[in-house]
């Protein structure tokens, strides 16, 4: 496969984790501008594990995702009791703090006569585990999509489960949910931790593919993009955010001709889309419509 396409698809795959992370929180009705923080935390944690402590990749991945999940738990507990926009700004503040801390965070060890490790704003180079293990770019892309498939299956199961219904109930009307005897805040914290882990997986993959991460990358732009993907592709199903990522990166890559005017065109298009479909292309109504058609089709002996 053309290496350029491999690279583009790998990007789409990795960013999808971030998009799904923001989407999960949108399901419970919370707008988070800060999922990129967990992306970053897992990237650094796993990079440290594989490049500095010599851990194998998969252990590093579990480690990174776990640290991200733990961070999500610690942040969620004090912030999820905040209403609406207060929570959103809190996520933004947290994510920026994480980014700024990484700008000054330095931790290096000497390996083979060279200093390896995060060096503040210089970033963290040489996360070379994947390359040193001779995993090809194509193989890595397959790894990304395999993991993405697992997460998607997880979402599929979630959406048909009691937990998924509870998440959607909370997203629609937390007070009414409480009246059914369910602890909305506890479920939101659960969703936040799950979202943190998902973003974390993406972060680990990102760090090991690009071999170099710097704090600058994990900024608010990335975080709002994560939200935007779900809003473009649709909030009715987990496929929605993926469609959003595909449209954004695919669009960005394929319309190189107008590269100087990309944001002007893209921004305008998205703004118009949001007027017509404020919950994205595959919003809940569209998904319900599709499901009824599907059910009717099957009943008609199709």
């Amino acid at each position: 496969m053309d290496p350029y396409l491999v690279s583009v698809f790998s990007n789409i795959g990795m960013i999808s984790f971030l998009a799904l992370s923001a989407y999960l929180l949108l399901m419970v009705g919370e707008i988070s501008f800060g999922q990129q923080a967990f992306f970053a935390i897992a990237a650094y944690a796993s990079g440290i594990a594989t490049a500095m402590w010599g851990w194998p990749f998969w252990i590093g991945m579990v480690w990174g995702a776990a640290i991200a999940g733990l961070a999500a738990l610690l942040v969620a507990i004090p912030t999820l009791r905040l209403r609406g926009l207060y929570f959103s700004v809190a996520t933004l503040a947290f994510a920026e703090m994480v980014r700024l801390i990484f700008e000054i965070f330095t931790y290096q060890v000497e390996i083979d006569g060279e200093l390896v490790g995060p060096d503040g704003s210089e970033g963290f180079r040489d996360i070379r585990y994947v390359y040193d293990s001779d995993i090809s770019a194509l193989d890595y892309m397959l790894i990304i999509y395999a993991l993405l498939a697992v997460v998607l299956v997880g979402f599929f199961v979630l959406e048909r489960s009691r937990l998924g219904s509870i998440f959607r109930m909370i997203g629609e009307d937390p007070l009414l949910t409480e009246m059914q005897g369910l602890n909305a805040t506890a479920y939101k914290v659960l969703a936040a931790v799950m979202a943190g882990v998902i973003a974390g997986i993406g972060g680990v993959l990102y760090a090991h593919l690009t071999t170099y991460v710097e704090p600058k990358i994990f900024n608010v732009m990335l975080g709002v993009h994560a939200l935007a993907y779900g809003l473009i592709g649709g909030l009715g199903t987990a496929i929605g955010p993926l469609i959003g990522v595909g449209i954004d990166i695919g669009f960005l890559e394929s319309i190189r001709v107008i590269s100087g005017y990309r944001m002007i065109v893209f921004g305008g298009l998205v703004a118009v889309l949001l007027i017509i479909r404020p919950r994205g292309l595959l919003d809940e109504a569209a998904v319900h419509w599709l499901r009824t058609r599907w059910r009717r089709g099957r009943h008609a002996g199709g």
């Binding site: 912030t79 503040a93 947290f94």
Partner: protein
């Protein structure tokens, strides 16, 4: 001790810039209950219109100021119509994301026409810093502080002594009831937005003028400083916006002096985070809380 006071003075002066930005932010939020992520970029657009007149036609300060405000207002109107008015009431996240993509759009427009890293802007003043005993006071900062106070008073007069202001306050409190009173919500939101953008334009002129230069990074910077200052003071509170700005300025100044410049933004966000956890209502917390619970009665 001298350092601490000097820093506080510097902080108060810088803080008035933040306060100016926060006023516009909070005015929009009070009326729309949504964050406008395009606020910084739209007033930055105004500043660039101003700089263009300055560089192309050597226009005087007054014309540049007027152009800055006009540019900011026009950009603001564009954002309001596209991102807020056009999107139905319930879809708050759609509005905010829309304002974000338009932020990127506006930034790109600016960088296309102004590809350099920085551009000259008519300086606010050429006076030397004043000396008060052991303390320095930059005249630019003094002007900004005075302007912040003047604008707050003027806004207060508008909000509490004019019919328009009454409508704005009614819509902020309870849009449904306002509609039943015959108030045209769309029109009020439009003009409140325009007013907020105009104030933002003034803020942009003063801040950029104090620096005597404008860069494309101004938009991002302005949005976040304005947002933090607004949150510290209390969402939707105008006096809170100034107080929040001052607090932010002081904390930043002390942080830079005692810890170093690289800790400045970290301190700002940390302060915001602490406030959100322990006092989400901000400095003017109690005032806002009563209003919110009155709205909650509709439960």
């Amino acid at each position: 001790m001298i350092d601490f006071i000097q820093n506080s003075l510097d902080g108060v002066m810088a803080g008035s810039a933040y306060g100016l930005l926060a006023i516009g932010f909070t005015l929009i939020f009070g009326v729309m209950r949504r964050l406008n992520l395009s606020y910084g970029p739209s007033i930055m657009l105004g500043a660039f219109v101003g700089t263009m007149l300055y560089l192309q036609y050597q226009s005087g300060a007054l014309i540049v100021a007027a152009a800055t405000v006009a540019g900011a207002v026009i950009a603001g109107m564009y954002v309001e119509r596209l991102c807020f008015w056009a999107i139905r009431q319930g879809a708050a996240v759609a509005s905010m994301v829309s304002s974000f993509v338009i932020w990127m759009q506006l930034e790109e427009i600016v960088t296309i026409f102004f590809p350099e890293r920085t551009y000259a802007f008519p300086p606010l003043t050429t006076a030397e810093p004043l000396l008060f005993g052991p303390f320095f006071l930059k005249v630019e900062n003094l002007i900004m502080f005075a302007a912040a106070v003047a604008l707050t008073v003027a806004l207060h007069v508008v909000l509490y002594r004019t019919r328009f202001g009454l409508k704005v306050r009614a819509v902020s409190e309870n849009p449904l009831a306002a509609r039943f009173m015959g108030i045209n919500i769309g029109s009020v939101m439009f003009w409140a937005f325009a007013l907020a953008s105009g104030i933002g334009g003034v803020a942009a002129y003063l801040i950029v003028g104090a620096d005597a230069q404008v860069t494309p990074m101004f938009g991002l910077w302005a949005t976040f400083k304005g947002l933090i200052a607004m949150m510290l003071g209390g969402m939707g509170s105008i006096p809170g916006a100034i107080l929040g700005g001052l607090l932010l300025g002081i904390v930043e100044a002390q942080t830079v002096w005692y810890l170093g410049a690289e800790y400045r933004d970290l301190a700002a966000y940390f302060l915001l985070f602490l406030f959100l956890i322990f006092r989400p209502g901000g400095i003017m917390g109690q005032v806002m809380a009563a209003r919110e619970t009155a709205a909650a009665r509709r439960v």
